[in-house]
């Protein structure tokens, strides 16, 4: 329509009419005019095949994003991801097709995997399959994990929350308030995020000289002699407060209860727990920023974002009287 070659259109479209290749202003305007009239848009697929960027970022989650159960978990991250993608002019591809078998969780790699359609990918999930990570690395798929991940045949690019620092800070606070015997309730392993919390705890008690008590569940808590307890799960925190009150133990005066941010099981409470805030939205934003960086210059950037401490009202100075 403009009486020029496909090449010329391509050049005009990509603003490559500078330096090496030249297109006269006249021709350029003619092409642009026709493009405007017809609303022509280059096929992104062909574009991508010819090895140019798509401006599409993949978002992989092991569970559905929207349903209520997982929405609470994923939502804050996604707010940040969407914000940042919008600013970067990128579209988001949700890999909803990844479920092969009903009842199972999604899989990153399947025979029909489309991760490669995206320029890069943000990985979201409480835990991530180690094999998947290793394969992403070895196949050179550009990606960034939201949440710290251990090496998987190589360093994994991630943006995580600085749990060790946050938990340690809480322990130090408790110690400063006179607590000498502090319990940690939770698995402390499985996911990196849990291991990190436990590490923060261990470091904290070591640094303050307090005595740390590890408990897999809240069961032995009241016999442990602890005056403060840190719990991974919000739900556990609620349960502990409940149980304490039933035993006539005042919270926080007789038992301080700190919550370490995990919120797997949805639970309602209006208790204003002392603990910290996981900067989920910021993590989402940063993940996209790092992904952009990876796309441009490669590498495996790793970053921990600080968690803001929440004052709350479940931490109090230890009582002086012996229990």
């Amino acid at each position: 329509m403009a009486g020029v070659s496909q090449t010329t259109v391509s050049l005009v479209l990509n603003g490559r009419a500078d330096g090496e290749v030249r297109i006269s202003l006249e021709t350029r305007d003619r092409v642009l005019q026709v493009i405007r009239e017809t609303g022509y848009v280059a096929d992104p697929v062909a574009r991508r095949l010819a090895d140019r960027r798509n401006r599409i970022l993949g978002v992989f989650t092991y569970e559905a994003v929207f349903p209520a159960e997982s929405a609470d978990f994923y939502h804050p991250f996604l707010v940040g991801i969407e914000e940042c993608a919008e600013e970067a002019g990128c579209d988001l591809l949700l890999f909803t097709s990844a479920k092969v078998v009903e009842g199972e969780r999604r899989r990153i790699f399947s025979s029909e995997s489309r991760i490669r359609l995206a320029d890069g990918c943000v990985l979201l999930g409480r835990t991530v399959d180690r094999g998947d990570l290793a394969r992403l690395l070895s196949e050179n798929v550009p990606f960034v994990s939201v949440g710290r991940r251990d090496d998987a045949g190589g360093p994994v690019p991630y943006v995580g929350a600085d749990y060790p620092r946050a938990v340690r800070a809480l322990v130090e606070r408790a110690a400063a308030l006179g607590h000498r015997r502090i319990a940690y309730v939770g698995a402390g392993l499985g996911a990196e995020s849990l291991a990190d919390r436990l590490r923060g705890f261990t470091e904290g008690v070591a640094a303050t000289g307090a005595e740390g008590v590890r408990l897999p569940s809240a069961d032995g808590l009241f016999d442990s002699g602890a005056t403060a307890v840190l719990t991974e799960e919000l739900a556990d925190g609620v349960a502990i407060v409940q149980a304490a009150r039933e035993r006539g133990l005042a919270v926080p005066d007789e038992l301080s209860v700190l919550v370490l941010g995990a919120n797997t099981t949805p639970v309602h409470t209006d208790i204003d727990f002392t603990g910290f805030h996981i900067p989920r939205r910021e993590m989402g934003r940063r993940a996209v920023e790092l992904l952009t960086q990876v796309l441009e210059s490669g590498g495996a950037p790793r970053e921990l974002l600080p968690c803001e401490l929440i004052e709350g009202s479940t931490l109090a100075p230890v009582q002086n009287e012996e229990r």
Copy 2:
């Protein structure tokens, strides 16, 4: 690695080794073996370029999907959309890049529009630009709108909520309880969904012989002599109940307040309004189903889903005493 041609691999990979084309079992197994060993996955981009199908469904929204303000509105639809896409083995592409200018709403068509990357597109929004709709139609972009839309140079494929029927049913209920003067508070125009509500109202009063009073806002309500009021917005409903109580009017005994499902302004209330439920999730599901259908056989399917009436506690028989 298997000592065969690219063609053979393609055939094996796509299970095309039947009927027309034949591959010996021996060769097939050898190829499959290598595929398993190497974890080879066909490049989805090239695949799409070659056969013009992506199994990617676009989701266009005029505002960001995730942030809290719009999340309440979009979320239920998206649950349905994701569910259905997962079942259909499709990925979802969120057009987050559509925002060209900060502060403005997104646009479907821009110079960089990537809608065509998806096989088809689901359109989500309180209102949709008529020009955009017309262009989608004329450019033959397969799409389905969530929410009924007026023709735009042709019939627009949609799945909507049957507001006329639901509103009419509410009017009839009110009339059956003795209400003879019924008010409608709201714009009743602008978006199709509002026009549909108003139409249901008009039909309802006509059918029952009641007297309909239209009010653009709640202002003149208490002078109108209406014993029952229908309001588009939940927020308005809350405000009306509040105002009524301040005037010493009991709800529902002296004034029935029915809410027509719109929930633009987020508002907290524990009033159990009589009204109806918009089947948002089901609309999302159905939209994807219709889109699939459009992709397969074209056409412009249009469908209205019934709204379930909510009994609630803000509708009561009219008092016999004259006011």
